[in-house]
């Protein structure tokens, strides 16, 4: 809020400036510590490794990881691994969210179905989905498809439950408004139920990004053909922990990027609503 009265108030303006300055300073302080933690962490890691406080063979070091990064980028193998994993994760994440939302719509449409399936959903939700990995790989084959399926299956049930709950929690009066206009069930779903649940769907997107990474990495562990998960499991097997660390760091970067992407989408969709 700006205080724009007729007569100028120098004191208020002065205080406002001071307030803004303080805000800026606070922002700088926070940023300073964030960068400091980053630098301290990596230099401590490097030092500890060089002085053998930690076993460099197991814990690697930033310089070794960096050297490996340049090497792998140079021979062109790294972009391929990254591309495969990111592709699998995005597809798994989209499939999980879309399928979950679709199932939630089905449950909303047929209330009896939701009553019947309730205990099964609870069981499926409680079960650790990665345990299905071996079965998936045997059933679908050790391919890209089964890894994507892993990325999807891990998030689909929780998405179904969360989105269906939000469908049910919509204020009855919004439906009443639609009914007085003579709206059909289909119209009510399209105009009210789905748009009203967009905030919930977006928050499940955020959770699903993380879940899909878990599914895909575990899938790549099992299939062991290519991708960042494969790099980890291969590095582990040949005892090259530089490779493991490199994969971990790259996963951290891309998982963050995807999360930011979802947040961007959120800001776009929620425009005007809040």
């Amino acid at each position: 809020m700006t205080l724009n009265n007729k007569q100028p108030k120098p004191k208020v303006d002065f205080l406002h400036e001071a307030f803004l300055k303080e805000q800026q300073a606070e922002k700088r302080r926070v940023r300073f510590f964030q960068i400091a933690i980053f630098i301290v962490f990596f230099s401590l890691w490097e030092t500890a490794s060089r002085l053998a406080w930690i076993d460099p063979l197991i814990f690697s070091s930033p310089s070794a990881v960096w050297a490996l990064f340049l090497e792998k980028m140079g021979d062109g193998s790294l972009p391929g691994h990254i591309g495969v994993t990111v592709f699998e994760t995005i597809l798994g994440f989209l499939a999980g969210t879309l399928l979950g939302t679709f199932l939630a719509a089905l449950l909303w449409w047929f209330p009896r179905l939701s009553k019947i399936l309730d205990p099964y959903l609870v069981v499926l939700n409680a079960m650790p989905k990665v345990a299905l990995g071996p079965i998936l790989i045997v059933a679908i084959g050790p391919s890209l498809t089964s890894i994507i399926a892993m990325g999807a299956i891990i998030s689909v049930i929780i998405t179904t439950i969360v989105v269906y709950t939000s469908f049910q929690e919509i204020d009855e009066n919004y439906l009443k408004v639609m009914k007085t206009f003579g709206a059909t069930k289909r119209e009510i779903f399209k105009e009210v139920i789905l748009p009203a649940s967009i905030p919930t769907i977006i928050s499940t997107l955020k959770v699903n990004v993380g879940l899909s990474w878990v599914g895909v990495i575990v899938g790549e562990f099992l299939v062991s053909a290519q991708g960042l998960g494969y790099m980890i499991i291969y590095g582990f097997q040949v005892f090259n922990f530089n490779l493991v660390m490199l994969s971990l760091l790259i996963i951290a970067v891309f998982a963050t990027l995807m999360y930011q992407g979802v947040e961007l989408l959120e800001r776009k969709w929620m425009k005007g609503r809040v």
Partner: protein
């Protein structure tokens, strides 16, 4: 043509069933409302007023009895009923324009002409350049006016008002009462208002039906005197005949409350 009332509620009885009990909401309610008439349902909370409104709207089907609008059961797409709730219930994810046009869109009557008329209502209600805005950007009074435009956009024959002014501050409420009143008179709409505000009921209606509760029945009918009916709700409150009627209804309402507490204890 025989003189059939515009809106007929015939022997409506409604009971809510649950696992534990059956709750009688309404019992043998019969009402006739003429075209262009404004009728208020007044009564303590839990007297089935809102249930009756939902039944008239065709959202709830009564356990017994029936509702006729122009001699027909109001069902299907061609129902000409407008419903306003306590709060605006504008869809927050739609712009004001999309909100106002939703009824026309649903009833497949959205064309250049109906669209213009509907958006014209906004201006008539003093809402300028709000079409592209979202409900959150408007004040409570503005939102309720937009909701009124949404209700009237489909050109309903009957307007059902379920305490539409109860969530507003007093000044906004008085302004909106006048607006609704004048709009209804201009377009000669029939209206049923549910309220627990005695003053509002007197100021706005031609006839007041006092409901007793559990089960809801019509306890008494008050005809609002001619001079008050002619005035807008705001002016009506200054009319000499307003206070005596207010006292009269107040007393009846209090007696009703006492009866229910006595039977309970």
């Amino acid at each position: 043509m025989a003189a059939v009332s515009f809106l007929q509620v015939q022997d409506v009885t409604h009971t809510y069933f649950s696992l534990k009990e059956k709750t009688a909401a309404l019992e043998n309610v019969s009402i006739e409302v003429e075209k262009g008439e404004f009728v208020s349902f007044l009564g303590p909370s839990g007297c089935g007023k809102t249930t009756l409104l939902s039944i008239i709207a065709g959202i709830v089907s009564p356990t017994e009895g029936r509702v006729l609008v122009e001699g027909r059961t109001p069902d299907g797409k061609d129902r000409h009923i407008g419903y306003m709730l306590q709060q605006d219930y504008l869809f927050p994810w739609k712009t004001i324009e999309e909100n106002v046009l939703i009824g026309l869109h649903i009833s497949k009557k959205l064309g250049p002409e109906t669209k213009e008329t509907a958006l014209g209502l906004l201006k008539k209600f003093g809402l300028y350049e709000v079409e592209k805005k979202y409900p959150k950007e408007l004040s409570g009074g503005m939102r309720q006016r937009a909701a009124l435009a949404r209700t009237l956009a489909v050109d309903p024959d009957i307007l059902l008002l379920d305490e539409p002014f109860s969530a507003l501050d007093y000044q906004t409420k008085l302004n909106l009462e006048d607006l609704v009143f004048n709009t209804l008179k201009t377009y000669q709409k029939t209206a049923v208002l549910v309220t627990h505000d005695i003053g509002e009921a007197i100021a706005m209606s031609d006839r007041i039906l006092l409901f007793s509760k559990q089960p809801g029945t019509i306890h008494k009918t008050f005809a609002v005197p001619e001079p008050i009916r002619k005035l807008t709700p705001f002016e009506a409150r200054q009319e000499p005949e307003f206070q005596p009627l207010f006292q009269n209804i107040w007393k009846e309402l209090n007696d009703l409350e006492q009866q229910t507490t006595e039977t309970k204890s």
